[in-house]
């Protein structure tokens, strides 16, 4: 796409129009988008065309950044100045962002075209996008199934060819799980890799922003475009950001050859109870293919994996209950002031009617876990177990270069199937949330189909080692480029 723009095969305006037309044609049934900013995006596309024309007149487009003129969708919790941002919640209905998020600024500087807002579970709490206050998103592969979540709109939009790239956030699997369920690529970068300035917060010690794309190279390009230090997010790391896409091998042969001698760990605890046989089969086939191409597969133990779910569902709700205390109806957002009532009653009414069921459940859990008398038993205990989970990974990475595992234990499930059973819904993220608790990067790449639906392979790396994950993901694409399942699509 970037090459086509440079060569003048099509303009950024044409590219945008084609994608807006695709959204109009298919989004009535998918509902990946909450809105598109047609006027703003058209202006950005024209500006990109002007930069391209100027570069051509000045002797070449070689020096242009790859994101110039490329349409991108942003999850509905990324602030874009002058545009709404609701985080999928009635609590922020009518909110207009007064400033740009850091990643929005970065995308603007590079001339990317910001198409609009994608649907999500309310405040990023969920694994199906059914918890959006604005209605569910459907999986483009099967409209009766969920796209995963919480970044389900961003994943579905890329899978449905409505947009080539999008941004999501991942607190416990919210990029990787929908990437897997929609058959695309998604990465949760290392905690601290991308500034969260201007992103609606969920659980601050876990949240991280990351990209979706249809292949590894595109995804790598978008991560490079948004990553790096920003002093407005003091957890963003002052480390150099490699040009991930440029460092990938040019040919399939070269990519495949890079697997020789790589040590990959297979964590036995990730083949969890409740994993579908078809998913396990695809993962084991993918591992066999990596081994046949020269990777050394090593069985590893992550003995505290089974404690991950309970630990996560203490830490994340606790942090969320604190973060969401800001929604008090005073400075912005939904506000109900009952005549004659005291301010506590106003808060309760505003919050009781503004938050959806899952958000209330998590606030209640978190408030309880932090409340007097229970802090040690829950929150402190969970933080200690978090140390054990992190040290499992540290030990594994003494022996291997990366881990290979399933992304999700199941393929996309039917709409409504887990809506009334929070614990079943939480199990969707059993293989992804330990990675957040350890702050590590995790990449999900498509690895085949089960029951006609996509399965995702998760590659987990050391902190700041996204480059290696992209190399491995690209190598896996290369060795399976001729596979029949690669011909399938939504």
């Amino acid at each position: 796409m970037a090459a086509g723009l440079r060569a003048g095969d099509f303009t950024a305006s044409e590219l945008l129009d084609a994608h807006l037309a695709a959204i109009r044609a298919t989004d009535g049934s998918i509902h990946a988008w909450l809105d598109t900013d047609d006027a703003g995006a058209t202006e950005q596309a024209r500006a990109a065309d002007a930069r391209l024309a100027q570069a051509r007149a000045n002797g070449g487009t070689g020096g242009l950044v790859p994101m110039l003129g490329i349409p991108v969708g942003l999850k509905d919790l990324v602030l874009v100045r002058g545009r709404p941002a609701t985080a999928g919640s009635r609590m922020l209905e009518g909110y207009i962002s007064p400033y740009d998020a850091h990643i929005t600024e970065r995308l603007r500087e590079q001339g990317a075209v910001i198409v609009g807002r994608t649907n999500m579970d309310e405040f990023a709490m969920g694994s199906s996008t059914e918890h959006s206050a604005w209605g569910p998103t459907r999986n483009p592969w099967d409209l009766e199934r969920v796209p995963g979540g919480s970044s389900g709109g961003s994943a579905a939009a890329v899978a449905a060819w409505q947009v080539p790239l999008s941004i999501g956030t991942d607190t416990g699997g919210s990029i990787r799980q929908p990437a897997a369920l929609c058959g695309i690529v998604g990465i949760k970068p290392t905690y601290g890799r991308v500034s969260r300035y201007g992103i609606v917060a969920f659980a601050s010690s876990l949240d991280q922003i990351g990209p979706f794309g249809r292949d590894v190279r595109d995804t790598a390009m978008l991560l490079h475009a948004v990553a790096g230090r920003d002093e407005r997010d003091s957890t963003s790391a002052a480390l150099p950001v490699p040009d991930f896409a440029a460092e990938l091998p040019a040919s399939d042969d070269e990519a495949a050859a890079s697997l020789r001698g790589v040590r990959l760990g297979l964590p036995r605890q990730y083949f969890v109870a409740g994993m579908e046989a078809g998913v396990e089969a695809r993962i084991r086939e993918a591992v066999a293919a990596l081994a046949a191409a020269g990777a050394e597969i090593v069985d590893v133990d992550l003995p505290h994996t089974d404690y991950g779910l309970a630990t996560y569902y203490i830490i994340a709700p606790a942090e969320a209950s604190a973060n969401l205390a800001r929604y008090d109806g005073v400075r912005y957002g939904r506000s109900i002031r009952l005549p004659g009532a005291d301010f506590i009653a106003d808060y309760k009414e505003t919050r009781g009617t503004g938050f959806g069921a899952e958000v209330k459940r998590r606030i209640m859990l978190g408030t309880y876990a932090l409340s007097a008398g229970y802090y040690d038993a829950f929150y402190l205990k969970a933080q200690k177990v978090r140390t054990l989970i992190k040290s499992d990974f540290d030990k594994a990475f003494e022996r291997v270069d990366a881990l290979v595992a399933p992304t999700s234990p199941t393929v996309a499930f039917p709409l409504g199937a887990r809506l009334d059973d929070p614990v079943a819904m939480y199990l969707s993220d059993a293989c992804t949330l330990p990675v957040n608790m350890a702050g590590l990067p995790g990449l999900s790449v498509p690895c085949g189909l089960s029951e006609g639906l996509p399965v995702g392979l998760q590659l987990i790396g050391r902190a700041w080692d996204e480059g290696r994950l992209f190399q491995l993901g690209r190598a896996y694409e290369a060795i399976t480029s001729g596979a029949d399942w690669r011909q399938a699509g939504p």
Binding site: S205, A237, H304, V330, M364, V385, T387, L388
Partner: protein, 100 residues
């Protein structure tokens, strides 16, 4: 693991500043207790000598120069306020009778 009574659920809802309808309280009592049951596995682990992890990257004492710099214009900062008077946000009274 402790279990939550209806009264406990009501108390937590008060702490969390959530007005919940009767049927919501009933459902939450059920669901929260089911989730708390899942937490019980953590009690199997001896963590007496384990340090807690609050964050995963070794960042500490991030400081910046204490200097004035441009910020949002007042109108932009106040644009989302539910109730406004001039350059101020109108807040509910928190002192006096209304807060008793």
């Amino acid at each position: 693991m402790p279990s939550l009574s209806r009264k406990d659920v009501e108390h937590v809802a008060h702490l969390a500043r959530l007005r919940l309808a009767d049927d919501e309280l009933t459902r939450l009592e059920d669901q929260l207790n089911h989730i708390l049951d899942q937490y019980a596995v953590l009690a199997q682990l001896d963590t007496d000598h384990i340090a807690p992890t609050a964050q995963t990257i070794e960042v500490e004492n991030v400081l910046r120069q204490d200097e004035a710099r441009p910020s949002l214009a007042l109108d932009e900062a106040l644009a989302n306020a539910p109730a406004r008077s001039g350059d101020y946000v109108i807040v509910p009274p928190i002192l006096g009778d209304a807060a008793d």
